[in-house]
């Protein structure tokens, strides 16, 4: 990486360290707000992640990292601040709204307080968790049995004549993930909607610190089960940056094929589920059928319906042979034809379109402020797709450069984005199958030790949106912290914004059109 390329993004008088495609530098805590706002607002860099590390054992105190990416160049500018002898730091939230949840999370899990943050209620951890225990500090043993306290969570209140509250969940009538939603309603119209999640918190980030490397990889696949491949891919890409095991070409193409198969399966499932939530049973049944066809292809190719155990550091473990390439190409053609017919019927149903259009409208400004990712962002016309902005695997070589967008921001727009992405994914897979280069699929790696005292970032466009993994290593070259972030973490706030002014019976449909992961949010 060339320092000139990023010179314009660096403040003066800082000591910049380069690690792969990352430039990181320490800035005084007092200046971070000014520097971050400059990068975000003036230089237009997206803020991908804010996370903290506990390096008190190395006498380095706590560090807070602010990850900014330079799109098209595939480079990252990462200013960090160091907190020695203090547990407070200036909050970015008043200036950059998308920092809100990241700072809340640091507050809850590290016990570091962002000063002037507007909302410091705990996030993810249950109200029965003691307020003075911070699970991501290194001196917190992961096996600690925690004494239950009986706290309360303060929901926002709407008052006025005829306003009442509907508490929904965390246990639902259907078999879905647990989450609590608090509706303040006037008649059937939603006035305020607040989601409280965290019911599937599994301590994944803490587990990343204790599990051996091979199990870290398995753990990634379980962060959000429906995005197993994308999560493990993001982790592997970060780990590959830290070692010299860069995957061979064939593996990069295979990764594209598997990742797009995952996208296809989930988009089919979502398109069907959106239709079934309106009661349009024909579309629902067919969405489920197409998803199943892809899942069976996955199983045939990799012995795993969710593409687990496929990614590994240095490549992939499952190849696609010449015969399978032809069969897969034909299967996909058939599925594409089916899909085309189903969508044609759906688009002709006035009752279906009436339910989808104008429901759950998200305004572009709101989406931008919250740092919307993936399908939700594309549905308001935001051009963001990691496959194009920070190309990885073989997306660059396959000439993938179109981001499918819509402008409505309603359920229909999110439905259409998925439909368009299905066609794009089909083309990508066919393209990758014809251009699949020969050669090995795995670069063997003999050591489990990585570059010492380093930082690496892996970013992938999962089917929901951007998945990012930040990995740091200690002085011995062991992984000291893994900070995963599923797009759900930022997008959950959007569901709360898209709900109000709709009627209560439309909320499940709005929620389904986002289809966010509870597990990926709760970690």
């Amino acid at each position: 990486m060339n320092i000139e390329d990023i010179q314009q993004y660096l403040p003066k008088n800082v000591k910049v360290e380069i690690c792969g495609n990352i430039a990181f530098f320490e800035v005084p805590a007092l200046h971070i707000k000014e520097i971050a706002t400059n990068l975000h607002a003036n230089k237009n860099l997206p803020l991908h992640l804010i996370t903290a590390t506990d390096e008190r054992a190395e006498k380095e105190g706590f560090k807070i990292w602010y990850v900014f990416g330079i799109s098209k160049k595939n480079m990252f500018v990462v200013p960090f601040i160091r907190l020695q002898n203090t547990v407070t730091f200036p909050s970015l939230t008043p200036a950059i709204h998308s920092a809100c949840n990241f700072e809340k999370k640091i507050h809850t899990f590290f016990g570091l307080t962002p000063v002037l943050h507007p909302d410091l209620r705990p996030i993810i951890l249950h109200e029965n968790w003691p307020a003075n225990l911070f699970p991501l500090r290194k001196d917190f043993d992961w096996q600690t049995k925690v004494k239950e306290i009986h706290g309360t969570y303060q929901f926002q209140k709407v008052e006025g004549e005829g306003i009442y509250e509907i508490p929904v969940g965390p246990i639902h009538a259907g078999i879905i993930e647990p989450g609590h939603f608090r509706f303040s309603v006037a008649g059937e119209e939603i006035m305020l909607l607040e989601a409280k999640l965290g019911f599937v918190h599994k301590g994944s980030e803490k587990l990343f610190e204790t599990l051996p490397l091979s199990n870290k990889l398995r753990l990634c696949e379980k962060i959000s089960g429906d995005s197993s491949f994308s999560h493990s891919l993001a982790f592997c890409q970060a780990a590959e940056q830290l070692s010299d095991a860069l995957p061979p070409k064939r593996a990069l193409y295979l990764r594209v094929i598997y990742a797009e198969l995952e996208r296809l399966a989930n988009h089919f499932g979502d398109i069907g589920a959106i239709m079934i939530d309106t009661g349009f049973n024909f579309g629902g049944a067919n969405g489920a059928r197409l998803r199943e066809m892809i899942m069976q292809i996955n199983e045939r190719l990799t012995k795993s319906r969710f593409l687990r155990n496929v990614n590994t550091i240095g490549g992939v473990t499952k190849d696609i042979n010449a015969k399978e390439i032809i069969v897969l190409g034909k299967d996909l053609e058939k599925i594409q034809k089916d899909f085309f017919e189903i969508i044609a019927i759906a688009q002709n149903s006035a009752s279906l379109l009436n339910r989808l259009k104008g429901t759950g409208v998200l305004l572009p400004k709101t989406a931008k402020d919250y740092g919307a990712l993936g399908v939700a962002a594309k549905a308001v016309g935001i051009l963001s797709d990691i496959r194009v902005d920070f190309p990885y695997a073989a997306y660059d070589e396959l000439g993938f450069n179109t981001i499918e967008t819509e402008s409505g921001g309603d359920v229909y727009a999110r439905f259409r984005v998925r439909v368009k992405e299905v066609y794009a994914s089909m083309n990508l897979i066919q393209n990758a199958l014809t251009k699949l280069p020969k050669g090995p699929i795995l670069t063997p790696r003999n050591t489990t030790v990585f570059k010492k005292n380093a930082l690496a970032i892996g970013m992938v466009e999962g089917w929901r949106g951007q998945i990012i993994y930040v990995i740091t290593t200690d002085l011995a070259g062991n992984i000291s912290r893994v900070a995963p972030c599923d797009p759900s973490f930022l997008n959950w706030s959007l569901v709360g914004e898209a709900g109000p002014l709709n009627v209560v019976p439309d909320f499940p449909l709005i929620n389904k059109s986002f289809n966010l992961s509870y597990s990926g949010n709760d970690l």
Binding site: E165, T278, G279, N281, F282, V504, P505, D506
Partner: protein
């Protein structure tokens, strides 16, 4: 008189005995239309059997209304089932066979169902009841006026007499009869919690109407509630088929006429189930605030039908 009592007894048994089958048939046809195998048409009987053998959980906040409502709701459907023509129109029922009695006895069931929904104080029951009452109040106009149309045509408010005269076939009443039927059919869908008003198959608690009201029930009481709603479906199908299409109904007390009446009644049930299933497979559920439009259409159909009678 003796034959009347026999028919009465048969009807009291027939409605609860056949009603779950209607639900089973609709589900089976829906499954087939979605390329699924689906459960057998007798599954609802097995579900009821299962529920009757389960223990119940009753909220400690529940009052006597919650405990009594299933019996009231179920009894109402049995009484109405015996008070309308199913397969024979010759019996002389002047007590409960009046259409206003039928409409408002059914309303007692709806009333207690809605009360039971509110009774436990759960949020879902509350909005389920609120929605049910909104729909029921708006459907009532269409319901009364559609039956009034056929009553005016037949010159009697007794449903057996209406069914017996079958004046709808005369060409000067064809248009009013058709309009009244469509109005009634919309009411049928609303009252029996079917598409596009309600989705009987949904698991999304926030979208439910009927299911939200009975969400707190379990075990035997849930079985009674489910059974009563199946009965209600059969009652509306019977009213639609025998008031508007009385063809084939037994008009005299012969064994062969009654047997034929029963067979034809079964055929009519299957046809209505088919129509409902096709409808549920081909359209999406309407938004809640569009439902009043549909119910007002039903009302207007019937008003026009009455105007056209003379």
């Amino acid at each position: 008189m003796f034959i009347d009592i026999i028919i009465w007894i048969i009807q009291i048994i027939l409605v609860p005995a056949v009603a779950p089958l209607c639900v089973g048939i609709i589900r089976k046809i829906k499954a087939k239309l979605q390329n699924r195998q689906g459960a057998g048409i007798f599954q609802p009987y097995q579900d009821l059997w299962k529920l009757f053998h389960k223990d119940e959980v009753i909220s400690k906040d529940a009052s006597w209304i919650f405990r009594c409502a299933p019996y009231i709701v179920f009894t109402v459907t049995i009484i109405i089932g015996a008070s309308i023509p199913l397969f024979a129109s010759f019996i002389n029922n002047t007590v409960t066979g009046d259409l206003l009695i039928i409409i408002y006895t059914l309303a007692i069931g709806t009333f207690f169902l809605a009360l039971a929904g509110i009774d436990t104080g759960s949020a879902f029951g509350g909005f389920g009841s609120s929605r049910e009452m909104t729909v029921a109040a708006l459907a009532e106009g269409g319901f009364i006026f559609s039956l009034l149309t056929v009553a005016l045509i037949s010159g009697s408010t007794n449903v057996f007499t209406i069914s017996q005269t079958g004046l709808l076939y005369q060409s000067q009443y064809l248009l009013s009869g058709t309009l009244a039927f469509f109005g009634f059919f919309i009411v049928l869908l609303a009252e029996t919690a079917r598409f596009p008003f309600d989705n009987p198959a949904t698991h999304l608690e926030l979208t439910m109407i009927h299911e939200a009201m009975i969400l707190e029930y379990s075990g035997k009481k849930l079985a009674l509630m489910e059974w009563a709603s199946a009965n209600k479906l059969l009652i509306f199908i019977a009213l639609a088929s025998n008031l508007f299409f009385p063809l084939g109904i037994a008009q005299s007390a012969g064994i062969s006429a009654v047997m034929l009446g029963m067979v034809i009644f079964m055929i009519k049930i299957v046809i209505f189930c088919l129509v409902i299933a096709v409808l549920e497979s081909s359209i999406a559920k309407f938004r809640f605030f569009r439902l009043p439009d549909l119910l007002i259409i039903a009302f207007i159909f019937n008003v026009v039908a009455i105007i056209l009678i003379h």
